[in-house]
């Protein structure tokens, strides 16, 4: 049994455990907080938050496509139209399903890769970069490559054929297309998240592993009792970041399936992009994006709750 003092596993005890601060200190902290937050905060508020509020305001109007003619205030009519449309309901369901399945899978793969890439290997730096390269290729280029690879007569099917596994209608069948998009998204993303988890793993102090070894804890035990708990913070980050990335994903869908076959890959961001940019209906598109952001918020809030740091720093067992 591992006998490392549990409080130490939590890393720093956090600001909560720190002794009292003076009132004057509080004022100074507030001052410095404002100063430190101002530049980045100003950038985020002026170039993300404010326009988003503008988008919400736009969604409360109805206008002629193109945006030149003045739109008329319509309250929540756009939202009502969306929620009474069966196609939109299916899109939302599809998006939620996509993320519920894909996010944990991608993070799991990234974690396994990170563990592999933190073992003692020859040329470890090279392998890490190779796994990261897919994330650096412009998404349009990656989509083109996978589009050709997944053609019914393309190389992927030829390989499957040679292995005796049978050809798959990757992008031409409504049962396979969404999974194929998941495959492309995973290939592009996991190397990227792996890097963050590698940093997290390498930040775990050696002593904990030494102590575990002294207690003769096997690799599995060590992983679940030491590595994983200490990875909570980086894990929260990659989970949230991955969620956002998957929710706003649309270029592969646009290039590989156009939302089809038979709407099987029409996801919320793709639909919103099409409404706003192809159909030039800014108002309805804005409403769709607001819905998308709200759903994302729910997912992210759940993840924050799940990986919340306990104040008391105790673990069962």
């Amino acid at each position: 049994m591992v006998q490392v003092p549990l409080t130490d596993i939590r890393g720093g005890r956090g600001p909560e455990a720190v002794p009292r601060r003076h009132r004057m200190g509080r004022k100074k902290e507030l001052f410095w907080a404002v100063v430190f937050l101002l530049p980045a905060g100003l950038a985020i508020v002026s170039m993300r938050i404010a326009p988003a509020l503008g988008a919400f305001w736009t969604s409360l109007h109805k206008g002629f496509p193109g945006g030149l003619k003045d739109p008329a205030f319509s309250g929540f009519e756009n939202y009502v139209a969306l929620f009474t449309s069966p196609a939109f309901g299916e899109t939302v369901l599809r998006t939620v399903l996509f993320n519920v399945i894909l996010n944990p899978v991608q993070i799991l793969i990234a974690l396994m890769l990170a563990v592999l890439m933190t073992r003692r290997l020859h040329l470890r730096g090279l392998w890490r970069i190779l796994l990261f390269v897919p994330a650096t290729i412009p998404i349009v280029g990656s989509s083109i490559v996978w589009g050709i690879a997944m053609r019914p007569d393309g190389p992927l099917n030829a390989i499957l054929d040679a292995l005796g596994l049978g050809r798959q209608p990757f992008l031409t069948s409504s049962t396979h297309a969404l999974a194929s998009i998941m495959l492309v998204a995973t290939w592009v993303g996991v190397g990227y998240w792996m890097l963050f988890l590698i940093s997290g793993i390498e930040a775990i102090p050696d002593e904990y592993y030494e102590a575990a070894r002294l207690d003769r804890a096997g690799p599995i035990r060590t992983f679940f009792h030491i590595t994983l708990p200490m990875l909570k913070r980086p894990l929260l980050f990659v989970l949230v970041a991955d969620t956002v990335a998957n929710f706003v994903l649309f270029v592969p869908i646009q290039m590989l399936t156009g939302g089809g076959p038979q709407n099987s890959t029409t996801m919320l961001m793709f639909d919103a992009y099409r409404t706003s940019y192809t159909y030039s209906d800014k108002n309805l598109g804005a409403a769709q994006v607001i819905v998308l952001t709200l759903i994302m918020l729910i997912f992210v809030a759940a993840q924050f709750a799940l990986l919340r740091e306990d104040e008391k720093g105790g673990r069962n067992g």
């Binding site: 592999l116 290997l121 040329l123 990261f132 050696d206 706003v248 992009y273 952001t293």
Partner: protein
């Protein structure tokens, strides 16, 4: 004033190579995984180096020919680099490096504020930052570009840099990292009378290590791959960025796959090489034993 961080923390590199202990089995697995992953990239690379029609003529029936060009030609790369794309590459690099230099500092400062400092409304500020990066950029791109037009920031490097420096994800990443730095270091420094900027500069920033590199990467990749924004705010040909210039390889009736692949290779190589260099230089720092 005494430096509050023990030298042993900053000085000790992690995991000094112990050659006898490297595992061949793990290496073999790593190689296998990498090969499967990298196969499409290899095809991309080969496609950029082969004669134009070979990309499609070698697709089927499947043979080793798909990955081995009949002749290696650099005309795709030459055509790109000597044309508008080459110039656009310089613009892209400029924009990204400025964004990283400025953005990393600003985001680290903000992360320090929400991770370390205590002030009323801290939770709300952090929540606002998180919500900020959840808003899809396409949703706000056009109104924002119209705002920038009004501010006279079109066709300027600043106009390209500004949206990239307030990267909420980078702040989030650094905040997570800063939370793991033991508070005792700061306590010790405060007892010594250090001010917040000094604590930030001499404790948290040096201990940023891998997290700083990763946040810099976030900012870099965000700007490097941006397509819609430069399209909207830059109309001057000489100021356009690389991804936009590359998209012209696909015209209305002609599609130069070889050239597009060459462009993708170049656009991918630069961050990959940068990351490789950064990992070697900064990846080793950690927050190991410093707590007494």
């Amino acid at each position: 004033m005494a430096d509050p961080v023990p030298a042993s923390v900053l000085g000790a590199p992690r995991r000094a190579p112990r050659w006898a202990r490297r595992s061949p089995l793990a290496t073999a697995i790593a190689v296998l995984v990498c090969m499967v992953f990298v196969l499409p990239v290899l095809w991309l690379l080969v496609g950029s180096l082969r004669p134009a029609d070979e990309i499609f003529s070698s697709l089927s029936p499947l043979s080793w020919r798909i990955l081995v060009p009949s002749q290696v030609t650099f005309e795709n790369f030459a055509g790109l680099l000597l044309g508008p794309f080459g110039r656009a590459l310089v613009v892209s690099l400029l924009v990204c490096l400025i964004s990283v230099a400025v953005g990393t500092v600003l985001c680290a400062l903000a992360a320090y504020a929400v991770a370390v400092l205590r002030f009323p409304g801290r939770g709300i500020v952090f929540a606002v930052i998180v919500v900020g990066f959840m808003i899809p950029f396409e949703a706000i791109a056009i109104p924002l570009s119209q705002l920038f037009t009004g501010w006279g920031l079109t066709n300027t490097i600043i106009g390209l840099v500004l949206p990239g420096i307030g990267n909420g994800l980078a702040v989030f990443n650094l905040r997570q990292h800063f939370l793991s730095i033991p508070a005792s270091y700061r306590e010790a420094a405060m007892i010594d009378g250090a001010s917040e900027p000094r604590i930030f500069g001499s404790i948290y920033w040096p201990l940023g290590g891998g997290a700083l590199v990763n946040s810099a990467l976030l900012i870099f990749l965000g700007q490097w791959g941006s397509f819609l924004w430069p399209l909207l705010v830059v109309s001057d040909r000489s100021l356009q960025v690389a991804p936009v210039a590359l998209s012209q390889a696909f015209g209305e009736h002609t599609s130069n796959f070889g050239q597009h692949f060459a462009g993708a290779v170049i656009l991918s190589l630069i961050p990959a090489v940068l990351m490789f260099i950064m990992q070697r230089s900064f990846g080793g720092l950690s927050i190991a034993s410093g707590e007494k």
